[in-house]
């Protein structure tokens, strides 16, 4: 028993030693969204580990395990969302203090873009992604000056790839301006702001996000807004469902309100710009579909 433990410890040590001597910068991303951004900027010179990548995990309720804590303890760079979205990561950082580790918190970098209700889903604002990417480029350049030029070039490319996203936003605004939108959770809030849409029934959405009960009045108001077609778009969180959200969604479909499912992370193998573009195309398709 003890011998095997020793061997395991030795193995872990060798693993750590190898990691320290090989070139790639050890990056831990709280969510795959930020992992994809870090990979895009760092290219082959970073080793990225995204902790939450499974679309079935509710990031609000994620519970860290030792393996995750070990990764965080070893990381040179940690990139995370912030404003309570990944509070577990904050805990892990406090539990493994390391003055040399650099922590990139998207919401803190883009504090001027945070909505007044402190909606944590900042990754649906492409500007936040760009700000985060720019910061990562600087951090990587500091840790690996030899490849600073490469990181700068990657950042420029990333910025270029975001242009079609802005283009799609413009196209949707042109075709469907000034809608009222609602949803099961405030996941898509930042993108709805970019589209110039007004969000209604926010209390219900926050309650669903926090797994607490909305009051009956709020649910009644929500249903009325669907039945009277006071809203023109219904967005649901494809990752987190409950009997309440399913009922509301069914009602929206029944009264022919465009319904779009959005995710909280970039799916595996999809870059951040690709993911945003795909999501916007779903929105456009839903809106166009009902018009016909």
């Amino acid at each position: 028993m003890r011998a095997s433990r020793r061997i395991l410890a030795l193995f872990l040590f060798l693993l750590a030693a190898r990691g320290a001597h090989a070139a790639p910068i050890a990056v831990v991303a709280a969510e795959s969204t930020y992992g994809e951004i870090a990979q895009a900027i760092g290219g082959p010179y970073v080793a990225v580990r995204s902790i939450i990548a499974s679309p079935r995990v509710d990031p609000h309720l994620f519970e860290a395990m030792p393996a995750v804590a070990v990764a965080v303890a070893r990381a040179q760079v940690v990139v995370m969302n912030g404003i309570g979205y990944d509070a577990w990561m904050q805990k892990l950082l406090l539990a493994s203090p390391n003055p040399r580790r650099q922590v990139v918190v998207a919401a803190d970098l883009a504090s001027n873009l945070i909505m007044p209700d402190r909606n944590p889903h900042v990754f649906y604002d492409p500007r936040v992604a760009l700000i985060t990417a720019a910061r990562l480029a600087t951090v990587f350049a500091g840790l690996d000056p030899a490849h600073a030029a490469q990181f700068r070039a990657n950042l420029a490319a990333f910025s270029q790839q975001l242009l079609p996203v802005y283009g799609e936003i413009g196209a949707i605004i042109a075709a469907h301006p000034n809608l009222a939108a609602t949803g099961t959770e405030p996941v898509f809030g930042y993108m709805l702001r970019a589209l110039g849409y007004r969000v209604v029934n926010q209390r219900v959405q926050q309650n669903v996000m926090n797994d607490t009960q909305p009051s009956p009045q709020e649910v009644v108001a929500f249903e009325r807004s669907l039945r009277t077609h006071a809203v023109g778009l219904f967005v649901y969180n494809a990752q987190v469902q409950s009997p309440l959200t399913q009922r509301l969604m069914a009602l929206a479909r029944q009264v022919h309100i465009p319904v779009v499912g959005v995710a909280e992370f970039a799916p595996a193998g999809s870059s951040y710009p690709q993911w945003q573009l795909a999501t916007l195309r779903l929105v456009a398709a839903a809106l166009n579909g009902t018009r016909r």
Partner: protein, 271 residues
């Protein structure tokens, strides 16, 4: 190094976990003697509500934990000391506190992840300050417990006999519930409000099956608690899955083993 002790978070986990196991064992043993398991359960959930309230006000969850559990402890103590009078009162306090907890979560405008986290705890997410706070409070509780131990032991075993010897049974009951509130408050953020029994009740319940003196029970409970905490953290580190799950699972299995194996382990018992 074993158990990943080269990492600060593992040191914090083992340190705080051990402190909590060491204080939970004697407290839990006395909780069982005094039939106050329901009070312990209630205090942990009251603590959750307090933590949710503190987070809502952007305060440290510990402030809410200590404030709510200590206030409820006084309330519980005033509700009566005999088992029969007690449980309904505890149920009332628990109900009221959980109602507040739901309200606090409902009032959140940002997200409630931090409050939800209190329900299950986070052994690998303990900061250095949190570990020292846990150890300090645990030490303080143990010191007070040692001071009042003898009259408390008698009052827990035979309340009338204690009264007859002039033991201030009522005051001791209040002090004990306050100590329980402190124990619960440091355990909840680590092991989780829902899993508090895995260290508070599991090890003492197993020890009670095996030991036949109060002191033997206390010592055995502490040893079992420490062993369960360490093996739970180790299993989580080497195998995976949350440490709380491991500790609760091991605690359950040890209790079952004690119930079934106890009669065979006791000297002189029929085999």
């Amino acid at each position: 190094m074993i158990l990943g002790l080269e990492y600060a978070f593992m040191r914090h986990a083992v340190f705080a976990g051990s402190a909590i196991a060491l204080v939970s064992a004697p407290m839990g043993y006395l909780v069982l003697l005094r039939r106050q398991a329901f009070a312990a359960h209630a205090l942990s959930h009251v603590g959750f509500a307090g933590a949710a309230g503190a987070l809502l006000l952007s305060l440290s969850p510990y402030l809410g934990l200590f404030a709510f559990t200590l206030a409820s402890a006084v309330g519980l103590a005033l509700l009566g000391s005999r088992v029969s009078e007690r449980d309904v009162g505890i149920g009332m306090v628990l109900m009221f506190a959980l109602g507040l907890g739901v309200l606090f979560l409902n009032l959140y405008t940002a997200n409630a992840a931090a409050a939800i986290g209190i329900l299950f705890g986070s052994i690998v997410g303990i900061s250095g300050a949190q570990a020292w706070l846990s150890a300090g409070v645990a030490l303080g509780v143990l010191a007070v417990l040692a001071l009042i131990y003898r009259p408390l032991r008698l009052a827990s075993l035979d309340q009338d006999a204690a009264l007859g010897r002039g033991v201030p049974v009522g005051a001791l009951g209040v002090v004990f519930v306050l100590l329980l509130a402190l124990t619960v408050s440091i355990s909840v953020p680590v092991i989780g409000a829902l899993l508090i029994f895995s260290l508070l009740i599991g090890p003492p319940a197993a020890a009670r099956m095996l030991a036949r003196s109060v002191e033997g029970g206390l010592l055995l409970a502490a040893l079992i608690g420490l062993a369960e905490t360490w093996s739970g953290i180790a299993a989580s580190y080497y195998i995976g899955y949350p440490a709380s799950t491991w500790i609760a699972g091991i605690s359950f299995l040890v209790y079952l083993a004690a119930v079934w194996g106890g009669p065979w382990l006791r000297p002189g018992a029929p085999r």
